[in-house]
């Protein structure tokens, strides 16, 4: 596993990760308690279920300057709420495909299923995603320039 956080790079992307409380958030906890590393620019927002994530939240993140948004939930079939992540899967498949249709780089968005037992996978997914977004560079297409005005 490559840990990109140790490489000093000019551009460090800002990554927002939405994690469902029951699987992925717990997976992230396990990554922590296993002392696995992933870059500090990944920040996690806890939601009850991946199906709570509204496309508005994803767009809001990009507006406010996120360079990548990743959505993590239980593996299909393992949803704490039985069917939540099935809806997530459809919504996000369509949303991400649509964003790409509008010319937004598809590497900026991702959905991953991470169970509570997959701490290592959580870390490797995050490392991989950070690497991918770093290579892509800054989000310029879906950001609100006003946000950074005055900086």
């Amino acid at each position: 596993m490559q840990d990109v956080s140790t490489e000093k790079k000019e551009f460090t992307p800002n990554i927002v990760a939405f994690c469902c409380n029951w699987c992925s958030y717990a997976g992230a906890d396990l990554a922590g308690s296993s002392r696995l590393t992933y870059p500090a620019n990944v920040k996690i927002i806890r939601v009850p279920c991946s199906c709570r994530v509204n496309p508005m939240f994803v767009l809001k993140a990009f507006q406010r300057g996120a360079d990548g948004v990743i959505l993590c939930g239980c593996h299909p079939g393992d949803c704490h709420y039985v069917t939540g992540n099935y809806y997530t899967r459809r919504r996000m498949a369509l949303l991400y495909s649509f964003l790409n249709y509008m010319g937004i780089e598809k590497e900026r968005t991702r959905v991953e299923w991470v169970s509570a037992a997959e701490g290592a996978r959580f870390a490797s997914v995050m490392n991989d995603f950070v690497k991918q977004v770093t290579e892509l560079g800054e989000n310029k297409r879906l950001t609100d320039l006003r946000v950074k005005e005055g900086e």
Partner: protein
């Protein structure tokens, strides 16, 4: 009077652009709107009606008014108008007679007391070059509002025919601009312009809406007009969108909103429409709850309230954009025909 051959227009634009920004009808993604000129842009002076009117030159769709820096409990107000000083002067090019009249309508609002400094600063640093119409269409009715489409005012008036753009300065600003581009101009064109004007006027006479009767739209009839039962029927198809408002050269309603940045707050204003259901919505009520009321407000404002506030000037200039653009074909002409007076039948 001067003229410049059409082939040389690009040189004219480039010359103007050396010292001033140039705001001119440009075709982008199939539609012609006023935009800042630049090399390679597709200028379209022939287009009779730009989708948006040139009002956005002085009253942009969105405009930052000030910024706030907040630090704990403290607020600092930052005046963004200082950027105006550094701004280049502008030339607004190709304004039709109706749109020029519309700027006069806006002037009364924004330059009246208290002066709107944002508008004023833009207005003062802009030279307006108008362009006479030569091929008006059925939705035009500027004649009703005493606009002469063939002889628009402005700092410079121009006419366009198949070969030349004819040029006449009217004001000091206009003279200055003329001097700047003098090298590209040659004398002549009086007869061509006169011929074109005569032809166009003849067409205007024949336009279906050229003889609308506005006689009932007077302040005395305000309440009577307000209470007409026809408003209900006229507005029943209204979607409550803002198309008519936003393409209108005289509509000037705006909203003031705040946007949170990482550092503070930007307070900006943006176009708003009296056709929108939340336009007059307050926390504890709304003075115009139905679309009929909002529809009535818009046309009463154009034809009665505004004239009552500003010496009888209508705030419609007959450009016909709403006639062309209303999704459901409602428009001010239908209102005038219904309520304007007996000579409309």
């Amino acid at each position: 009077m001067y003229r410049i051959s059409k082939e040389k227009l690009n040189d004219l634009y480039a010359k103007i652009n050396e010292t001033s920004g140039l705001y001119i009808p440009v075709k982008r993604a199939g539609e012609v709107n006023y935009a800042v000129w630049g090399e390679g842009k597709e200028v379209s002076l022939e287009t009779l009606k730009t989708v948006k009117s040139p009002k956005s030159m002085f009253f942009p769709q969105t405009e930052n008014m000030m910024k706030f820096k907040t630090d704990g409990k403290n607020i600092e107000v930052i005046d963004v108008r200082e950027q105006f000083d550094e701004r280049r002067p502008f030339v607004l090019f190709g304004v039709k007679a109706c749109d020029y009249k519309a700027i006069e309508v806006l002037d009364k609002v924004f330059l009246g007391d208290p002066v709107d400094s944002y508008y004023k600063m833009r207005r003062e640093t802009t030279t307006i070059v108008t362009l006479a119409c030569s091929r008006p269409e059925e939705s035009c009715f500027c004649k009703v509002f005493d606009v002469d489409a063939t002889a628009p005012q402005g700092d410079v008036t121009t006419w366009l025919d198949a070969e030349y753009l004819y040029w006449q300065a009217n004001t000091e600003k206009g003279e200055a601009l003329t001097a700047l581009v003098q090298e590209l101009l040659e004398e002549g064109g009086e007869t061509e312009v006169a011929t074109q004007q005569a032809q166009t006027k003849a067409v205007i006479e024949r336009l279906p809406f050229s003889n609308l009767d506005l006689s009932r739209f007077t302040p005395e009839n305000l309440n009577a007009l307000f209470n007409e039962k026809e408003w209900e029927e006229m507005s029943e198809a209204c979607l409550g969108c803002g198309t008519c408002t936003f393409v209108c050269p005289t509509c000037q309603c705006f909203d003031i909103r705040d946007f949170k940045t990482n550092e503070g707050v930007i307070r900006y204003r943006c176009w708003d429409s009296c056709m929108y259901s939340d336009f007059t919505l307050m926390a504890h009520g709304n003075s115009r709850t139905t679309q009929m009321q909002r529809f009535r407000q818009r046309f009463m404002h154009k034809l009665v309230y505004y004239p009552s506030q500003y010496d009888g000037t209508y705030s419609c200039v007959g450009c016909g954009r709403c006639v062309n653009k209303c999704p459901q074909n409602l428009n001010i002409v239908k209102v005038i025909k219904t309520l304007g007076g007996k000579n409309n039948d």
